[in-house]
């Protein structure tokens, strides 16, 4: 039941996007997110869409997977679109009872919807093409550059990588506990929502106890192996920028400039 749980939905292929340095991908995604909010008309969204389509093609990740990433957020997207449509003042186009739909409303709704979709698919392209390991390394390297939080960069990435390391172990454990409780007659399937939530307690309590025990043992094992925080620590794998990263940065900067430029194009009004 938990066997196919994947965190960070990595989709391995041998594309150039996969081979990029994780820092390049994280930084580009950040820039992309920021500039999606700079964009204010349809031209900009079209430009961003073209860029995204280009990256997706390069990455060889099936479009299906990116759409899958949108699925859990459909409710949020629809809600945003509806709210924007209904509560924006402007020239009323048509009215049913107290529900007024305005031209501004439609424009805003379309803009917000597109923005959200582009945002989510853009970030999922990053997580689909970067393994969790690279992601933590990239984040550590990035956080080290930020003045106020650079001291905790090592701790942060260590916690993240240990958490990732223990996900399969703990899911296995959960399954084992579930089987054990089931064999003693526990029932997880029937009853209403509250009854089902309550039936989770006999799983969660042993799981927590064992997680703490594991943490304790892990801490001891780490200390035995001379762990003493991030000071003077070296790494086996070090991130190194390659030529393709430079090209990627150039491309991203160009696209971001283009996105900013679209602000000065005449606005397209749908209605």
């Amino acid at each position: 039941m938990f066997k196919d749980i994947t965190i960070g939905q990595y989709y391995p292929t041998d594309s150039i996007i996969h081979k990029l340095d994780p820092r390049t991908k994280i930084n580009s995604t950040l820039l992309y997110i920021i500039f999606l909010f700079v964009v204010n008309n349809l031209w900009g969204y079209m430009a961003a869409f073209v860029f995204l389509a280009f990256v997706v093609t390069l990455s060889k990740v099936p479009v299906k997977y990116i759409l899958k990433g949108l699925k859990p957020l459909v409710i949020i997207i629809t809600l945003t679109v509806l709210l924007n449509m209904l509560w924006t003042p402007g020239n009323v186009i048509f009215q049913v009872w107290i529900i007024k739909i305005t031209d501004m409303g439609i424009n805003n709704a379309v803009n917000m919807g597109l923005r959200l979709i582009l945002l989510i698919s853009g970030t999922s392209i990053m997580t689909l093409t970067t393994s969790t390991l690279d992601l933590t390394d990239g984040l550590e390297a990035d956080i080290k550059k930020v003045p106020l939080v650079k001291r905790i960069a090592h701790e942060l990435s260590m916690m993240m990588s240990i958490a990732l390391r223990f996900i399969p172990t703990l899911t296995e454990e959960t399954e084992r506990i579930m089987k054990a409780q089931k064999s003693r007659g526990a029932d997880f399937e029937s009853g209403n929502v509250i009854a089902r939530a309550k039936s989770l307690i006999p799983i969660l309590v042993p799981l927590f106890v064992s997680a703490f025990q594991r943490a304790n043992e892990l801490a001891m094992a780490m200390e035995s192996r001379c762990y003493h925080g991030g000071e003077n620590r070296t790494r086996l794998k070090q991130l190194k920028y390659k030529k393709r990263d430079a090209w990627a940065y150039i491309l991203v900067f160009a696209v971001m400039a283009a996105l900013t430029a679209t602000r000065f194009l005449p606005a397209v009004n749908l209605v």
Partner: protein, 305 residues
Amino acid sequence: MLRWQYSNWWRRTLKRAFAYNLFYKITMDKLIEVKNVTFMYDEENEPGIKALDNINLEIYKGEFLGIAGRNGSGKSTLAKLLNGLHLPNRGDVFVMGQNTKDENKLLDIRKTVGMVFQNPDNQMVATIVEEDVAFGPENLGLPREKLRQLVDESLKAVGMEKFKDKKPHKLSGGQKQRVAIAGVLAMHPDLIVLDEATAMLDPSGRKEVLATVKRLNQEGVSIVMITHYMEELTEANRIIVIDEGKCVLEGPPCEVFRKQELLEQMRLGVPEIVEISNALRREGVKLSNNILTMDELVDELCRLA
């Protein structure tokens, strides 16, 4: 090959036959000295739980020491005292002459004394085998080329070089434990303490780990094997039996195994072969004192026949 076998045989016989105590204490260098150590859990609540009671022992360079005892005898506590994870309430532990109470020396001590724990899952830090092996040397701040070399070399030493890019949770128990040993080995320790490292493994995993440990010992790494399976200690140079926080028995395996009744009182069995030869001896068959393996028993019986 034949010569190697012979020399090994001779060494084994010599070690078993001669007054081994004398042999070690004069010829070998002391690696660890445990002096009058008492350790209590829960010391705030008087009287506390005494896990170790005035223990004295020495561990020598190059030896394979077995520490046996039933659950709750204090053997794991003893292991944690050896690299400063626990500090003694009374008495001192010296590793290469350095007191474990000296905080500045703690890294040196932990580099000298590597530790492998019972649960293989709870001692893996990284998500990739080779990165886990690199964890120790990374903490020591070694340069990158050196890290690479240490990782490759220690994975090879435990026969896991093919698995270096694998994820630890995809390995079998024995393989995980071998990776854990490699992780310790990468720091070039003088001593590896295995704290019930085989307890959670299946028989084949146990064999893998034991074979690895034996090979490392032959290459000069001292081994302390903590266990309650006496079968694992037939290859040891010396066995110390601990019960209720005290050293009860000490000696080479053949000597310790002959006190079968005493061991059984402490809920420790002896290996099957030893049990058989002890029984035969009781029945009046004149067997020599140093039978530990099937081959040796067969040889001995053929000699008598």
